[in-house]
Amino acid sequence: MTTIGTRTLRWLGTALVVGLGCRGPIGAPPPAQVSPPSAGSELRAPSDFASITDAKERSAALFAEASRVMLHPRCKNCHPAGDSPLQGDRGLVHDPPVVRGADDKGVPGLECTSCHQDQNVELARVPGAPGWHLAPRAMAWDGRTQRALCEQLKDPSRNGGKSLAEIVEHSTHDRLVGWGWTPGHGREPAPGSQAAFGALMDAWVKDGAVCPPEEVRR
């Protein structure tokens, strides 16, 4: 027993060292030019990207940051790749088992707005905002890389026929989009704020609406 216990401890110790090693050497220089997307609940402002002098690289970096909002569960859960919305931070299939229906607003007798109101119902924990509905299937974000999301967003056949200016406006002011930052009971808000997200999208477009390279992933 003693031998096995010692071996186990050695193995655990090795695993711990290897595990810590994954963080990389302390004091390593940050990658040049392109800032890695931030993490957590914060969202960088466009001014944080001013050190990137190349407009194309800056635009791509701005989008990478903004994509943290769009690929957050509060946003992508209602941009599913299938016919059912997702819910929760783990993206479980919506329960009750609802489906999008012909116009992305549910089916007769079980519309989205059969339950979802124009605001959150806190006591019942039912999320709500004006115009609650699913994004059309062509606008699926779930499972997209940053680049795929970016190219999709610029494609009028997959963005609801919007111009880039209309996308910025939608991002900045749409109230259903805004729900992502006031999601109600027990739900983690999308990073930053709607204003900060809108500013990133605006700056991305002004710098040329360039998409990040495929290898930049979350």
């Binding site: 329960d95 009750p96 088992p97 609802v98 489906v99 089916v107 007769p108 007798g109 079980l110 519309e111 707005t113 059969s114 339950c115 109101q117 124009d118 119902v121 006591l123 019942a124 924990r125 039912v126």
Partner: protein, 151 residues
């Protein structure tokens, strides 16, 4: 604040908190107790009523949403229980404990109003959010099919 609303064809001015769920306005204020309180979280469907013909879960729908609109409850679905769904419900002996049935029927009525001849899959999709703890789902489906003119 008062809310103007038509309920089962009759106009009412309700002196209630506009955030009061429709369920409590119809049950506690008007005494229409056919609509049931199940989960209170829009998860079970026992409280379904029609708001301008759309199925809504009255336990989470504030009465202000019904301002100037028309609500139909199970009591208003027909004057004498003769709605095809109600007749099918009786003929097939659908209810067991019966608690969920007004919500089931109101959901199915909203479906048939928009899709008079639904497929089995469409019936299942529309009623997927109505729970029956007695497990009468097969009878419910059969009754909806019967009301739609099928076997």
């Amino acid at each position: 604040m008062s809310v103007r609303v038509r309920i089962n064809g009759k106009d009412h001015v309700l002196d209630v908190d506009p955030e009061m769920p429709i369920l409590w306005a119809i049950r506690d204020v008007l005494g229409l107790t056919g609509t049931k309180y199940g989960c209170g979280q829009a998860l079970c469907g026992a409280c379904v009523v029609h708001l301008d013909g759309e199925a809504v879960r009255s336990c989470v729908t504030p009465i202000r949403r019904a301002e100037g609109k028309s609500i139909t409850t199970i009591e208003g679905l027909s004057a004498d229980g003769s709605h095809p769904l109600q007749r099918a419900w009786v003929e097939l002996g659908v209810p067991q404990c019966g608690f969920c049935q007004s919500g089931q029927i109101m959901t199915a009525a909203a479906l048939l109003a928009k899709k008079p001849k639904p497929s089995v899959a469409e019936i299942d999709q529309s009623l997927a959010g109505n729970l029956c703890r007695c497990g009468t789902y097969l009878r419910i489906r059969a009754a909806v099919q019967k009301a739609a003119g099928g076997e």
